[in-house]
């Protein structure tokens, strides 16, 4: 029961308090790149969530039951990136086959999930912080939820942003970063929950 409470608390804190984009700075490229259509942002969130959770679930046993006993714990980064690259390929193939329309609309962003730091970030963090399997999965789930939430919110703001007149110098990425700053400030209000 105690562990379950800690698990739920960890998910909440990874999703909201230490949000993946707004306070851990992972996945900013895709956050800014994909975030102009509400629907594709949701799909992107789902795809990234799938890759993060699968990668965390595969890499944890791979690291703790294979690399560490074999004495090659230093291969962690390479092993993780290979697992992630394979997963992204699988997601791409499955989507192409069953959801071709979606595959079209996500376009070039799909292969870029491999280089989305959120995925490798979660896996490296799980290894570096020596988390147990439950907490590692809490990190993965919380991070995915946080990522999907933030890119969805950002896409909603962006729709309004494009209709409004921003100063010329701020058009595009600079205003996106200012918006991210304001969102981060809002999320800062959640600090201290459950501590």
């Amino acid at each position: 029961m105690n562990y379950l409470a800690a698990f739920v608390m960890a998910i909440i804190s990874y999703a909201l308090i230490d949000n993946v984009v707004l306070s851990r700075f992972y996945g900013i490229c895709s956050f800014i790149g994909v975030g102009n259509k509400v629907k594709s942002s949701l799909c992107m969130g789902a795809a990234v969530a799938f890759v993060i959770i699968m990668a965390a679930a595969i890499c944890w046993p791979l690291y703790n039951f294979l690399l560490v006993p074999a004495g090659v714990a230093f291969l962690d980064t390479i092993a993780a990136i290979l697992v992630i690259a394979c997963l992204v390929m699988v997601v791409g193939l499955v989507m192409k086959k069953f959801l071709p329309a979606l595959y079209q609309s996500l376009g070039i962003y799909l292969p870029l999930i491999t280089t989305n730091c959120a995925v490798l970030g979660v896996v490296s963090e799980n290894i570096a912080s020596n988390l147990d399997f439950g907490m590692a999965m809490a990190n993965a789930v919380g991070t995915s939820v946080g990522f999907a939430l933030v890119i969805f919110l950002y896409a909603c703001i962006r729709v309004r942003l494009e209709a409004s007149s921003t100063p010329k110098a701020f058009k595009g990425i600079p205003i996106a970063l200012v918006v991210a700053s304001l969102m981060a400030m809002a999320f800062m209000g959640l600090q201290g929950i459950g501590a």
């Binding site: 230490d18 851990r24 230093f74 912080s129 020596n130 988390l131 809490a138 201290g192 501590a195």
Partner: protein, 174 residues
């Protein structure tokens, strides 16, 4: 589509060769740096012991405790009499783990604290934001209790470790 066997073998062979060579390079560098990393950790512990009680001198070997978050302690002496103990503590939460060296004076008041390891990757403020004000505070027992202001999980974990160290010292003497 006709698969060109020769080419497929070339691709496979190339990848295998590349991975093999690179893995060898990594293993070589690992052999080279492993001992240095280990020595660094020991050095850090030694330096940490000095920083906890700058005026005292560590007397003898560490005593193993392995109780709760505490691992072992060193007795520190100053000009022959016991100045206090330095506890080595290790704690874990959902963000990672923290190793501390905690100084406790022989009258059970709290001394300085040094962070040995902190794997809470975005808890980088642990030392600057929380422990620096603590180490600078005159009255450490109130400083440790006031962490609820702006508390992070890391700070709470540290507080638990500090209080545990103090009560262990007190319990052993009484």
């Amino acid at each position: 589509m006709k698969v060109n066997m020769k080419h497929a073998f070339y691709v496979g062979g190339f990848l295998a060769g590349l991975c093999g060579v690179l893995a060898l390079a990594i293993a070589g560098v690992d052999l080279l740096t492993k001992d240095i990393i280990k020595a660094n950790k020991l050095e850090k512990e030694r330096n940490g012991l000095k920083r906890v009680f700058p005026s005292g001198e560590v007397d003898g070997e560490a005593v193993e405790v392995h109780q709760g978050k505490l691992e072992k302690y060193w007795t520190v002496k100053e000009s022959g009499s016991e100045l206090g103990r330095i506890y080595s503590a290790f704690g874990k939460n959902s963000y990672g783990q923290v190793s501390l060296l905690i100084g406790v004076y022989s009258d059970f008041s709290l001394g300085n604290i040094v962070v040995l390891e902190n794997t809470e990757s975005y808890g980088q403020t642990l030392e600057e934001g929380y422990l620096d004000p603590y180490n600078a505070a005159e009255d450490k027992s109130t400083a440790v209790l006031s962490v609820s202001c702006g508390a992070t999980y890391g700070a709470t974990l540290c507080r638990d470790m500090i209080l545990e160290a103090a009560s262990h010292y007190q319990g052993g003497q009484a």
